[in-house]
Symmetry: C3
Amino acid sequence: MLRNRLIDTFGRIKPILCGAQSLRSLANVGSSTTKLTTIEVDDKSGIATLSMNLAPVNTLTMELMHDLIESINQIESNKSRGLILTSSNDKVFSAGLDLKELLEPDRERLKEFWTLFQDLWLALHLCGLPTAAAVNGHAPAAGCVLATACEYRVMLPDLFIGIHATRFSFVISKWMMLSYQSVLPRRIVERSLNQGKLFRTEEALEVGLVDEVADSKTEALAKCAAFIGTFDRANPVARTLTKRMCREPDVRGLLNDRSGDLQECVDYVLTPLFQQGLCAHLEGLKKGK
Amino acid sequence: MLRNRLIDTFGRIKPILCGAQSLRSLANVGSSTTKLTTIEVDDKSGIATLSMNLAPVNTLTMELMHDLIESINQIESNKSRGLILTSSNDKVFSAGLDLKELLEPDRERLKEFWTLFQDLWLALHLCGLPTAAAVNGHAPAAGCVLATACEYRVMLPDLFIGIHATRFSFVISKWMMLSYQSVLPRRIVERSLNQGKLFRTEEALEVGLVDEVADSKTEALAKCAAFIGTFDRANPVARTLTKRMCREPDVRGLLNDRSGDLQECVDYVLTPLFQQGLCAHLEGLKKGK
Amino acid sequence: MLRNRLIDTFGRIKPILCGAQSLRSLANVGSSTTKLTTIEVDDKSGIATLSMNLAPVNTLTMELMHDLIESINQIESNKSRGLILTSSNDKVFSAGLDLKELLEPDRERLKEFWTLFQDLWLALHLCGLPTAAAVNGHAPAAGCVLATACEYRVMLPDLFIGIHATRFSFVISKWMMLSYQSVLPRRIVERSLNQGKLFRTEEALEVGLVDEVADSKTEALAKCAAFIGTFDRANPVARTLTKRMCREPDVRGLLNDRSGDLQECVDYVLTPLFQQGLCAHLEGLKKGK
């Protein structure tokens, strides 16, 4: 149980989670003067909307992941009332990880890349504030992982969401599976991960991968804000500690062995099997398959 | 796996679970001559109905918890066919823990209080008999925890049930969360614990927090008895061992580290944060907020 | 996380899982010249159909379990596109374990028998290929366990499926419970295991114990084949590793302590309590109760 440990380190939890190695990698990426994300705080509601702005499809490059982590930390330390994650792009929420980083990678750079993705997931998954995703565009692969790391998902119609990693021969980490499992029934998790299934909005609603459907981005943001409003009667610190207790079983494995997860991922990405699968996938994408 | 360990200690499981410390605390509370609970055994069905009788709202004081544990043990050792937990009060099943014990508490007395609540949860959660709750009044906080520790819940209309701890700044223990999670989907557990949500009967039925709705207490008791009848073709000892195997993952953490859970709870309750939150909550209750 | 460990041992996973003791027990049972199972591979689809053929009710004798393990391994090493498990008997899929092996057993033979059942469950549960069960007859007890070890279940109407072990005083192992839990909600798992519930086809569909209902065996096989077709866009190796990652939490306990599970089972089966319960059950079956 994290109750007292979290009390002790309240406000200092992020540095502990990220660790020295990861902070180093952040430093390598550059300063936060890039503007791949924007934060807008609603004066009336006190809710911060965090938008991903990396044209054309919010690919999770090292720079975008770095900016997202900084923005999440900033919103959290400003004691906003809640955080809504969305996209400036009306077609794509996020296209997922930058697959070019996985193609014939330099081992050291790949390590920094994966560590940054671990950091981003931890920052969002353990964010003390109420979080919601306004999924106003497609959310495949890591785009879906970001959405499931939030506490609520509102999605626009006729879009796709899901972890389709097996289609490009990738094997996700256990913590990504647990994140999926925190919102979907076990039977659906295994089947859809194995299939590499992308759910249409309506299917996603039916299985519980998203919580509501909205007809416009404005409506999606309003529904996310209404969800954040449901916590008004809860003590904010007790809420944060309760959220972390609920999520502790899902993050424990990663926090206990970040380097093990990193090693496994790097070793797998460097296998000829994965490289061939990824190449074939990228060829297919080029041909519009 | 508990199969053989439970066979060896069959009938002797309770003393082992409770531990010396807890037995001491029981001794301090006083003898069982108080009558805060009543047991009625139906001659035809062999089912024991255990009623909580502490006016006005069955607050879980040390005395009521002590009497409940004794009654559960007595019903179990009398080899009744099943146990139905209910209230003599038609408005409130149980209002939950005695919050006065958490307000500026004496550390040693708080330890006894929490140990007794651990004991009560273990006694009910691991009770070898089929158990059901006839929820004939509101069941907030620990009132809901008692209901979810049973195997089945029948509730009357227009009542509230749920763990609303965050509303009075309390952070529940992991075993209480696991008890909730044993009946509700993961996604609902996190959200409703964070919100401090109280479910109306109809909502509770929809998410699975209760299994049936009944129009009267008599009907609720009859439905509980019918549930207990569904075990008629099962061997009673095999049933008990199977129930404990199913519940073992939820109790393992607590049984392995009762003193750690106690320490965490006591430390948290003594923080100014919690004390202020509790004060504000009690003020609100007085004003009928 | 098994990702790299499984990559290293890919193709060699089965010998590692089975272990020396189990291989010995296989040797004792006899050669694979018996024909208690048949394999038919569809030339067009590449899908292998594995049928159980042991008249009258596909009781899982040592010989049938041995043949099933060999057939699963053979189908897997032939790189079929998928595996469909079914029965040659139109009334019974499998009646479950050979209860005669549990009645006043020789301890050493009982050890071989249970080890073989562990092996069979592991072989099917971790089979790298897509698996589906065409449940064309009743599937009680271990018959149901085999079906739940597959990834998909299609069942014919008016049949029974479920783990009714408590009805003959047996207490299942934790890994069998976890297999049940991988397809059913927690609340349903505990209740139905305790009751020894057998679900009619329609009930099984409603709770998710089966995925589809078919009107004939031909239609069931076609639906299973269609399910296997849903993996066509997934990289086969990534799919296998993802499936094993999803199932790793359920098998970890058994793989870490196979001898402990064996010891517990043997000790329990040899108790007078179980022997009396089993006798009474077998008497009841004779009388057609």
